[in-house]
């Protein structure tokens, strides 16, 4: 028998509050969860309201239950989704066979492929090399340094998860701030660089369907809702949000330059550090090269052959090619991919299908918007506002999972294109500018220590308003102009 040696500097903190307070502080989530489950059981026994089938009523109750869990994170998002999948057959909403078949949605496989490609880029180091090269190449002045970090993050997060881009670029930003001797909470350049990192990632993530998992989720829900009759293509997705993304990039870049004028003019110290980092990385490896080529080819395929071959099929072929050419190992992929995200999406798609097929989503939206909306455009603006507000307090994926199913029903009832309705929810769900906790990248950038939560809130609120303004322009001018609504 052996016991694990404990570190010699082991330290404990003792919570001396009354034990009932300590206990409540530790288990309030479990108690709340138990209370919610109890409420769920009681509500499931009640009679459905007029106009709603018993299955629809139960689907609605389960949906509300999951929405609360997603919003409060009482359970991990993925577990909530799996829980929903178990509850649907248990409550008699759908058969188990039908429920679990939704997990085989094409979008789940597209998401898996995209995440594996992203994992390969991180594991081989090509993403870090690319970021370092870009910043070193274009960062000759403080202003250009900020621009290059900002655009790099925006571009990166349009190709892979914003969180992954944030993690990749963060060490570069830290190296730059240290090399230039920027003082935390004082330096304007430090602030500008950190905000560039956070906001670049957030805004860029709206450009393509690869910029976050909410895009694939929305496509999956649209496909399930329409019974496969409608989807959103790779290019179509880009076109829907392009003016807003470009506009926000320009406004934000301008804001960064005006609000945070750099206090220094010489960036040679930072460039020297980046140079040294590149030297340490050595020459481009064969693995990096293969991953780079596959990534470019895949994006081109998604753009030009996505509608015919399917985003999912292309993703799986790309994923297979990575392994065929030994560019990545299974262990690397296993470690880098967020598998919980895939589980979350499978369950959310299943739940939204239940809402749609039982008529619950339509009933709910008619109830909420029965008299208050004068036109389809106003309806979309109201939905966009709800999405934009909710995303500051909960994950953007949870916003989409919650808001999209009833929105699609409403859109169908009002003759609005399902894709437009989906983008009305998806695009504002990315406006997590105001709080460090809103998205992982905001928290990452804040952790460097150049700005306070108050500064994030003030500047974030302004950006949020700008973003919503662009959203209104999209809905009222751009989408009608290009015939989307």
């Amino acid at each position: 028998m052996s016991t694990q040696p404990e570190p010699d500097n082991r330290r404990f903190e003792i919570d001396r509050r009354p034990i009932t307070v300590v206990l409540l502080a530790r288990i309030w989530k479990q108690l709340l969860l138990l209370g919610l489950i109890g409420l769920l059981v009681v509500l499931l026994q009640l009679t459905a309201p007029t106009g709603l089938s018993p299955q629809g009523y139960k689907a609605l109750i389960i949906f509300a239950f999951c929405a609360i869990l997603w919003a409060t994170s009482l359970l991990p998002l993925a577990i909530t989704s799996l829980f929903a999948m178990a509850l649907l057959p248990l409550a008699g909403v759908m058969s188990a066979q039908e429920t679990y078949s939704y997990f085989g949605s094409r979008v789940v496989f597209f998401l898996m492929g995209a995440l594996m490609l992203s994992a390969a880029m991180i594991a081989t180091g090509i993403s870090k090399r690319f970021a370092t090269v870009v910043v070193r190449r274009f960062g000759a002045t403080p202003g250009r340094l900020v621009t290059s970090v900002f655009l790099l993050c925006a571009f990166g997060s349009s190709m892979m998860s914003a969180h992954a881009v944030g993690v990749m670029v963060l060490p570069i930003v830290v190296d730059i701030t240290r090399a230039l001797g920027l003082r935390p909470l004082r330096s304007n350049l430090g602030k500008a660089l950190c905000f560039s990192l956070a906001w670049g990632c957030v805004i860029g993530g709206s450009l393509t369907v690869l910029g976050g998992a909410r895009g694939p989720l929305a496509i999956g829900i649209v496909e399930e809702f329409s019974g496969g009759a409608q989807t959103i293509g790779f290019v179509q997705y880009m076109l829907y949000g392009l003016p807003m993304v470009v506009g926000m990039l320009l406004v934000t870049l301008f804001t960064l330059k005006v609000v945070f004028p750099p206090e220094i003019s010489d960036t040679r110290g930072a460039l020297k550090v980046l140079e040294s980092n590149l030297e340490q990385m050595g020459k481009v490896t064969a693995r990096e090269l293969v991953v780079g080529v596959i990534m470019v080819a895949t994006v081109l395929m998604w753009a030009f052959a996505g509608d015919t071959l399917g985003l999912d099929t292309i993703a799986i072929i790309a994923m297979s090619a990575l392994f065929l050419l030994r560019a990545v190992t299974w262990r690397e992929v296993q470690e880098e991919v967020n598998w919980g995200l895939i589980l979350m999406y499978g369950g959310a798609i299943c739940l939204s299908a239940a809402m749609a097929h039982t008529g619950a989503a339509l009933w709910l939206t008619e109830l909420v918007f029965a008299d208050g909306v004068s036109s389809p455009q106003m309806l979309l603006i109201v939905i966009a506002l709800a999405s934009a507000l909710l995303t500051e307090f909960m994950s953007n994926s949870a916003v989409v999972a919650m808001l999209l199913p009833p929105t699609l029903s409403l859109a169908q009832a009002n003759g609005i294109d399902l894709a437009a309705a989906a983008m009305t929810v998806v695009l504002p769900s990315n406006f997590a500018f105001m709080f460090p906790i809103s998205t992982p990248v905001t928290a990452l950038a804040w952790s460097v220590g150049f700005y306070t939560p108050r500064q994030v809130a003030v500047t974030g609120a302004a950006l949020h308003a700008v973003g919503f303004g662009f959203m209104v322009i999209l809905i009222t001018l751009y989408w009608p102009a290009v015939g989307l609504i």
Binding site: S2, R11, F12
Partner: protein, 437 residues
């Protein structure tokens, strides 16, 4: 104050005190029928070199009574066998008149009126004759008396071979290597095979470090907690820094003893010169007070030896300690493992009478209750009258309280108590160790 034999036999608290002080006579034929072969081994025989046996008296009261004929020949108490049952009674010719130590006489009782108290005799465990798989004799590691198991992973103490040695201490001055953790776990397993052990007491002496021996005990406590649902008490010297007290609790100890031994400051310096000089009485008191903010109520204890200072001083100690949240434990001075202070002329002794002892333990019980301190951590100890046993000197007990005391003393009650103690720790303790990259 005087007590009749019937009063003594009818009160487990009084009988325990009497048996510990005077011993128990056992007919040779009865003695032979008990397996007492381990009773004289070092470690078990706390009372000098005489053999002892552990007896469970009524109301779950454990006592370790000397039985060696030369020690107990004057004792009025004897063990008799009636069929399969063991009983304790008093010898009519010797004890019809039970004299209080102050000399007061009570009324004589006829022999037939002397009650016979049914008891359970627990012969000395084979624990003392066995060794661990690695060959370490268990008697070297510790001692077991009924439900109470005391273990010393090391006998090292920086005071032993010096003039700083505690005057009552009988531990060998020859230091031995610390016992492997696996052997300690094995020792507990062996003890639990034949005894209802529900508490492990780990003790450590002065190791010359600031941590009060916490680092040394940590792997032992962790291993015990990993393998057994059992209460673990640590008996150590106060560490230099209170952070070590947090760590003692965090690592798994359910109770802590910083034994001042003597409350009177001058006598403390004289009888415990090492702890007085190196640690200081003030630090003892500080550490005890701080520990009460960390451990559960009743989980912080302090021994005050009765008989080495005036009873008023002991009483003052009881009042001060219970006021701080510390449960005093009052062992009566006995020669310990062969070390007899009675030969030390410079040490004044204050041998209390049975009446004084009864009054002292009653006061202890009342003070502990008045300060709402837990009693479950220090109970079922055969070698000392525990604070809970002070209830036997405090008149008729409250029925509900008595029921609760009994329930918490059952095997399942003790196991539950250990589980609750672990739960409390899980709720209150947060490991904030900074892991160096």
């Amino acid at each position: 104050m005087s007590f009749s034999v019937s009063q003594i036999l009818g009160n487990p608290g009084l009988l325990k005190l009497e048996l510990m002080r005077k011993g128990l006579r056992i007919e040779p034929s009865v003695l032979r029928s008990l397996d007492t072969s381990g009773s004289g081994v070092t470690g078990h025989a706390l009372f000098g070199s005489a053999g002892d046996i552990d007896i469970s008296l009524p109301q779950g009261t454990w006592v370790t009574a000397p039985v060696a004929p030369r020690i107990v020949k004057a004792s009025p108490y004897r063990l008799v066998v009636d069929g399969d049952q063991h009983l304790i009674t008093a010898d009519a010719s010797a004890a019809v008149v039970c004299k209080d130590d102050e000399g007061a006489q009570s009324q004589s009782e006829p022999q037939e009126a002397v009650p016979r108290v049914p008891v359970t005799v627990q012969p000395p465990a084979s624990f003392f004759r066995r060794s661990t798989s690695s060959g370490i004799p268990l008697r070297r590691i510790g001692t077991v008396h009924g439900p109470y198991l005391a273990l010393s992973p090391t006998n090292k103490c920086g005071f032993l071979a010096t003039a700083d040695r505690c005057r009552f201490c009988g531990v060998s001055a020859q230091p031995q290597d610390a016992v492997p953790v696996a052997d300690i776990v094995e020792a507990i397993r062996i003890a639990r095979e034949e005894q209802t052990v529900n508490m492990v007491h780990l003790s450590v002496g002065y190791l010359g470090t600031d941590d009060g021996g916490v680092r040394m005990l940590e792997p032992y406590v962790a291993a015990i907690k990993k393998h057994f649902d059992i209460v673990v008490a640590v008996d150590a010297l106060p560490p230099a820094d209170n952070g070590w007290i947090d760590r003692t609790y965090g690592m798994g100890a359910d109770a802590i003893s910083y034994n001042l031994e003597i409350f009177d400051a001058q006598r403390f310096e004289k009888i415990c010169p090492g702890p007085a000089r190196v640690i200081g009485r003030e630090r003892f008191m500080e550490a005890l007070e701080y520990a009460t903010t960390v451990f559960q109520s009743g989980g912080v204890t302090c021994h005050l030896i009765v008989g080495l200072e005036p009873l008023d001083s002991t009483r003052e100690g009881i009042q001060t300690l219970t006021g701080m949240g510390v449960v005093p434990v009052l062992p009566i001075y006995r020669p310990f493992k062969g070390r007899d202070m009675r030969a030390d002329e410079d040490i004044e002794r204050f041998e209390p009478t049975l009446g004084e002892l009864g009054s002292l333990y009653r006061d202890l019980y009342r003070q502990v209750r008045n300060n709402r301190l837990g009693l479950s951590m220090v109970r079922d100890i055969a070698t000392v009258t525990t604070p809970l046993e002070g209830r036997f000197f405090d008149g008729e007990p409250n029925f509900l309280r008595s029921l609760a005391d009994r329930l918490t003393g059952t095997r399942i009650g003790r196991r539950t108590s250990a589980r609750f103690s672990d739960l409390r720790r899980a709720l209150r303790v947060r490991d904030v160790t900074i892991v160096e990259p």
